[in-house]
């Protein structure tokens, strides 16, 4: 098996070396990468889309269908994960048995009060959360949230955007869930609205796409007149917010599902 694997890797390496040997020189401003359609985006992207961040312009306007289906892909992944039966069967936990028994009851009963004051327990697992981790996560949480919101809000004029904000918001949800325990973390995203939030990416895209259809006759079309500047901006922001909120909730939910909930 090892020999076979090594042989396969060598074949792959050889093939890739042949491939990269035939590529045009990198970093050359006259290379095909920069003279083909990319040059047109740089020239007319601002005028055609009104977005100063050309990556966002490509993502939301020029290749909007691609992004729409990409949002559908991650939503489908969540549906697939949730469709599987829960990972915890018959009460057996994913954790190694040693880790669970290594916390004797004597310790908790003896110095339970002192420990409760010093260490924040996750009530659901009984595994204590380190003071340092708990403090740092609580301290940084508002800053992380502001950073994610800034990435989202300024995404069309600076580096950033919906997906980046989604990743950071999702990480924040997961970190808070680890530190605060499941019950409190669940309250961050109320159960009633959770299904709608999880589907928010595809929903926002579909709504904006249909609105564009109504206005311009093309699905995901954006009105190009200068007078429709505000409307176009609002459509872009709606899609970005949908991606950010939907993506963040999906990421947090995926993590919960893998924990066995």
């Amino acid at each position: 098996m090892r020999g076979l694997g090594l042989a396969l890797v060598l074949v792959a390496a050889f093939t890739i070396v042949l491939g990269i040997g035939g590529l045009p020189p990198r970093l050359d401003p006259e290379g095909p990468v920069h003279t083909h359609v990319g040059a047109r985006y740089a020239e007319r992207g601002l005028e055609e889309t009104g977005l100063r961040n050309l990556v966002a312009a490509v993502l939301l306007v020029y290749r909007g269908f691609d992004t729409f289906l990409e949002v559908v892909v991650i939503f489908t992944a969540l549906v697939a994960v949730l469709a599987l039966p829960s990972g915890v069967i018959g009460g057996t936990s994913w954790r190694e048995p040693d880790a669970e028994t290594s916390e004797p009851d004597a310790e908790t009963s003896e110095s339970g009060d002192r420990r409760a004051a010093a260490v924040v327990d996750r009530p659901d697992t009984g595994v204590p959360v380190s003071n340092v981790v708990g403090f740092v996560v609580r301290l940084l949480a508002p800053f992380i949230a502001v950073f994610a919101a800034a990435l989202l809000y300024r995404g069309h004029v600076t580096p950033g955007g919906g997906f980046q904000a989604a990743a950071i918001f999702g990480a924040l949800f997961i970190a808070l869930g680890l530190v605060l325990g499941r019950a409190k973390a669940d309250r961050l995203v109320p159960r009633g609205v959770r299904p709608y939030l999880q589907a928010m990416g595809p929903l926002a895209f579909a709504l904006v796409g249909l609105l564009g259809w109504r206005l311009t006759g093309a699905f995901l079309g954006y009105p190009s007149e200068a007078s429709a500047y505000v409307l176009r901006e609002a459509m872009v922001v709606a899609v970005e917010v949908g991606i950010a909120v939907g993506g963040a909730v999906i990421l947090a939910r995926l993590f919960q599902a893998l924990e066995g909930r």
């Binding site: 990269i20 990198r26 401003p29 740089a42 100063r52 050309l54 992944a77 969540l78 990972g87």
Partner: protein, 116 residues
């Protein structure tokens, strides 16, 4: 920078890709296989992003202070798509690995093969 006539960055990504492929093929642990897959994906993303860079270029954001030539925005947008797909694949694969562990009590392929 060049190495034997090949772009050094491309060679680095080729090596990274091969490391991931080796993990994917040789390792028996399903989690390690998944890690290998992610390493391969990272190599591909880095390759695509790098191919769109330009000498003394600016990020493709048209604000005061940035001037042509701009890095190509298309590879960056494509990689963003790719990353989301990679996350989806990883999530589904992890969920399946959890299922396999709950069912068979192991995630080693060598041990799984012996089970009925």
């Amino acid at each position: 920078m060049e190495l034997f006539g090949f772009d050094l960055d491309y060679v680095a990504f080729m090596i990274l890709f091969c490391i991931g492929l080796h993990m994917l093929v040789v390792k028996s642990n399903l989690l390690k296989k998944l890690l290998g897959l992610n390493v391969m994906e990272t190599a591909v993303f880095a390759f695509i992003i790098t191919s769109g860079m330009v000498d003394s270029g600016d990020p493709p954001i048209l604000v005061a202070g940035t001037n042509p030539p701009f890095a190509n925005p298309i590879p960056q947008a494509m990689v963003l798509t790719g990353i989301v797909v990679a996350v989806s694949v990883t999530a589904v694969a992890l969920a399946l690995i959890v299922q396999i562990h709950a069912h068979y009590g192991t995630i080693e392929v060598s041990e799984l093969k012996e089970r009925p």
